[in-house]
């Protein structure tokens, strides 16, 4: 049994050795906002924050999380970025979107007024096959409304 701190709450789970944080979040805690699109660390869809730092939950073993606070899209539902993504039309199919927003939230937390280049640098690990990128950039630039 381990204790997992997620979005301000504490959950007791008993994952098998080798279980990823993404699987635990999605399957054991029902937090399916976190998506898995590759499962091997190449796309960013599964991005969550550990103590505010974006990580790829599909290649993070749940047993390595320990006392760190996990923030998923469910914990960021009221973040102004959610609104700005919708306003800017920064999503098409939306499958990459939770990961994009979690990454962007970490970015604007550290750097509230990122330049276009800084956004591109910070977000290059979040693939979007629909190509919503121009509007993602716009959404992050205008996240404060």
């Amino acid at each position: 049994m381990i204790e997992l701190r997620v979005n301000g709450g504490v959950h007791r789970v008993d994952p098998a050795v080798g279980r990823s944080l993404a699987e635990t979040l999605r399957e054991d805690l029902g937090l399916t906002g976190t998506k898995v699109a590759c499962g091997e660390g190449h796309c960013g869809a599964c991005t969550v924050q550990l103590d505010g730092v974006p990580v790829l939950s599909c290649i993070t073993l749940v047993h390595t999380v320990r006392a760190r606070e996990v923030t998923t899209i469910e914990g960021l539902r009221d973040h102004p970025l959610v609104e700005s993504f919708v306003r800017a039309d920064a999503l098409q199919c939306g499958f990459c979107t939770p990961g994009q927003i979690v990454s962007a939230a970490a970015l604007v937390e550290a750097n509230p007024e990122p330049s276009r280049d800084e956004i591109r640098h910070a977000m290059a690990g979040n693939l979007c096959r629909c190509g919503a990128y121009p509007k993602i950039e716009e959404a992050v630039l205008t996240w404060r409304g």
């Binding site: 999503l91 199919c93 499958f95 919503a132």
Partner: protein, 755 residues
């Protein structure tokens, strides 16, 4: 009145004749330009659900007792299964069932491409299912694969009959020409890589099979599954409320659906069969590679006298032959055209439609050839295209329902005029240039397509139809259309979609057809409800119906009277007003097509071969635009996929074994946010006066079509080099630069010796 007619149906450029029943479609055309809701920017109505991670995709569906599938796939491009023992695997922990060749149609003992499914296991978790796969005992006899498309053509290994086309006399046209160019172009195999992989969850509820699947065609899956399983179609319920991208690869049920259905039947449990990313890149379809051997001839004044091409498409083990020759046959007014297309049958994974299949590849060849011709003629490339403008359809002389390509060219001028300024930026090894390419494609949609609508006593409307929104924003567009017709604000219209049990037949979301197929049906349903509301209002207020209309959520009369809609609908209490609508027929004897032009600005480092795209202006004519915001997103998305196709994406095979080397997203390079150039989108927004009650065509595919050629032509402008092979890697760029340098040196030595 319902009319029975015989009509042409087109999807992705494939025409079939069929009987359909169409309703009268006597609605007045809406005026041009932005209306109250239609033609105005609307953020997606489901944007919040998607952005907050609340939207439930197929990948998120779960049921108690859900089993997970792992599929044994052929590691060989061509092999025979000599022995297959599932016994030990069935004993493995957590395993609940297995299927092998003979159990499900898609499982084979003679795999013809790497990744072909041979057996499958259902277990309590995906991990346990995968672990059990290791316990399957299988002995392969490995056979020599056929991987070379030209060799396949020589041997007559084709997936379909070769496809010839001719008008006029090509040789005659070439003889008439003052200048002839000839070139071989190649395009690579490209993988769709939608972020949600192909998958289905199947669950039997009594004698009904529920299929939750990530699909572009709910009704197509329903019908195909029913047929293969021998069920009445309404015993198959297909659900897809949110969908994580398809791009053409999710038009059919796919093997995973049939595997999940059979394993669910055998185990009595719900079963998920989801492809991993690696499986996705092995066996979920691809844009097939092509070889295009092209010729063009023109008079000195630029008039095209001849266009000819031999096209070899690397279809794979099975698939259909998309029209790579289409642009050559259709784009320009040229009297002498001959094309011949082959679909090579190879030991590679089957192709699938991928965003304008055939036309993306064929436009790259044709539009590069045109620019090579323009260079030889010393003619402005835009001028050359204007000289050869087609005013009627060239395949059978039909009139176009609408064609505003000339207006697209006119709107392209300011972007094209940036040439001098862009070229002048060249400094050091970096050369800058500008190129353009035209676009032609289908996108007219068609019947049958149906929608229902209900208006409640609260004066809110709900559109009900079993269509899908694959990420294109069709849900929002349908709400806009219904809101416009009913004179309601957008936030008073809901759309229920994504479930074959909850709405009438809706057409496929492929071939740029969702808006032009479904939009008119939704408008006609809304108009049906609107008529009834006005009939009731006329009785309630003792007025004539013809003085009443619906606007701003109110019933308005020409004499200045105005009442909230709810005042009338509220009379009904629990009662509802129900409207139904159907898509009318396409205009008889007309060709419905979309057009456009893109202008690309690039920079090339002539020392390293690095290519950077700085700017793309996209001007397209797709009829009326329903949602300019969503439309611009779709244009950007198409161009960005085109950018990947042009510069970085390629499925690589081991040339000896045919094994796929690019199964992961680090090996297969799709564009990232850091790769995106400035994109300028201009849509003409001119309703097609002949196209049903909406005048809107589809936009999903047009934007990806001219991108590669526009970039390649900009590279020629910048460097004088002819790139002829996609993707334009540094090697290809340096090869083209070397060739151009050799050509220049040869010219100089000829010049020197003749001096």
């Amino acid at each position: 009145m319902a009319r029975l007619i015989r009509t042409e149906k087109e999807v992705e450029g494939r025409y079939t004749e069929q009987w359909i029943v169409v309703e009268e479609d006597a609605l007045e055309r809406w005026p041009e330009g932005p209306l109250a809701v239609v033609g105005r920017e609307a953020p997606r109505t489901d944007g919040l659900a998607r952005a907050r991670g609340e939207a439930v995709y197929t990948a998120d569906i779960s049921f108690p007792g859900l089993l997970h599938t792992a599929v044994l796939r052929s590691p060989h491009a061509r092999a025979r299964v000599k022995r297959l023992e599932l016994g030990a695997a069935l004993e493995a922990p957590g395993v609940r069932g297995a299927v092998q060749p003979g159990d499900v149609e898609c499982l084979t003992r003679e795999p013809g491409y790497p990744g072909a499914p041979v057996a499958a296991i259902a277990a309590d978790s995906a991990g346990l299912a995968r672990a059990a796969l290791e316990r399957i005992e299988v002995e392969w006899e490995v056979l020599n694969p056929l991987l070379d498309p030209d060799e396949a053509v020589r041997r007559g290994e084709l997936t379909t009959e070769r496809r010839p086309y001719a008008r006029g006399d090509l040789e005659h046209g070439l003889a008439e020409a003052d200048i002839v160019v000839e070139a071989e172009y190649r395009t690579q195999t490209v993988l769709h890589n939608s972020m949600e992989t192909h998958q289905a969850v199947c669950r039997w509820q009594g004698d009904t099979l529920e299929v939750y699947t990530s699909t572009q065609f709910i009704w197509g899956v329903r019908n195909a599954v029913a047929e293969q399983l021998g069920l009445p179609p309404d015993r198959v319920r297909v659900v897809c409320e949110y969908m994580g991208g398809g791009f053409g690869a999710k038009n059919d049920p796919g093997d995973y659906t049939f595997l999940a259905a059979e394993l669910a039947r055998r185990t009595g449990r719900p079963v998920r069969c989801a492809l991993t990313r690696r499986e996705e890149n092995l066996d979920s379809g691809n844009r097939n590679a092509t070889i295009q051997r092209l010729r063009a001839g023109a008079r000195a004044d630029g008039t095209l006298t001849a266009l000819g091409g031999e096209f070899v498409a690397s279809i794979g083990a099975s698939g259909w032959l998309a029209s790579t020759a289409g642009p050559m046959q259709m784009l320009y007014a040229c009297e002498n055209v001959e094309t011949l297309e082959y679909g090579a049958k190879l030991n590679t994974a089957p192709m699938a439609a991928f965003r304008a299949p055939g036309f993306v590849e064929g436009t790259f060849g044709l539009e590069c050839l045109l620019d090579e011709l323009a260079a030889k003629l010393d003619l402005d490339p835009l001028e050359l295209r204007r000289i050869n403008y087609a005013h009627a359809d060239l395949l059978d002389d039909r009139a176009f329902s609408s064609k505003n390509l000339a207006e697209c060219y006119r709107r392209a001028e300011p972007h094209w005029a940036r040439r001098e300024e862009v070229r002048a930026r060249s400094a050091g090894p970096w050369r800058h240039g500008v190129g353009l390419a035209s676009q032609i494609w289908y996108g007219g949609g068609g019947p049958p397509s149906y929608a229902w609508i209900r208006v409640g006593s609260d004066g809110r409307a709900t559109v009900v139809t079993a269509m899908q929104d694959i990420g294109t924003g069709s849900r929002t567009a349908m709400a806009q259309i219904a809101a416009e017709e009913l004179g309601l604000p957008l936030d008073r219209v809901d759309v229920v979609l994504g479930d074959s049990a909850r709405g009438p037949y809706a057409s496929i979301s492929a071939g740029s057809s969702t808006i032009p197929s479904m939009g008119p049906a939704v408008r006609s349903a809304a108009a049906d409800a609107g008529r009834q509301i006005l009939e009731i209002a006329a009785q309630r207020y003792h007025l004539e119906e013809r003085v009443l209309s619906l606007r701003d959520g109110r019933i308005v009369s020409t004499d200045g009277g105005s009442w909230p809609l709810e005042e009338v609908t509220g009379l009904l209490e629990e009662g509802q007003i129900l409207g139904k609508g159907a898509r009318g027929p396409n205009p008889a004897g007309m060709r419905v097509l979309t057009f456009g032009v893109q202008v690309a600005e690039v920079a090339v480092d002539v020392e390293t071969g690095e290519v950077r795209v700085d700017r793309i202006a996209a001007i397209h004519d797709v009829g009326r635009v329903i949602n300019p915001l969503g439309a611009s997103s779709q244009v950007e998305g198409g161009i960005i996929q085109g950018l990947g196709h042009t510069l970085s994406e390629e499925r690589l095979l081991d040339p000896a074994t045919g094994g796929v080397l690019t199964q992961t997203l680090d090996a297969y390079r799709v564009p990232t946010i850091a790769d995106v150039p400035e994109i300028v989108t201009e849509l003409l927004d001119l309703p097609d006066a002949h196209l049903t009650n909406l005048g809107a065509k589809g936009l999903g595919e047009p934007p990806i079509i001219p991108t590669a050629a526009a970039i390649a032509n900009a590279i020629r402008d910048a460097t004088g080099a002819d790139v002829r092979s996609l993707p334009i890697t540094r090697e290809e760029m340096l090869r083209a630069l070397r060739q151009a340098a050799d050509r220049a040196a040869a010219r100089e030595s000829v010049g020197a010796s003749s001096a």
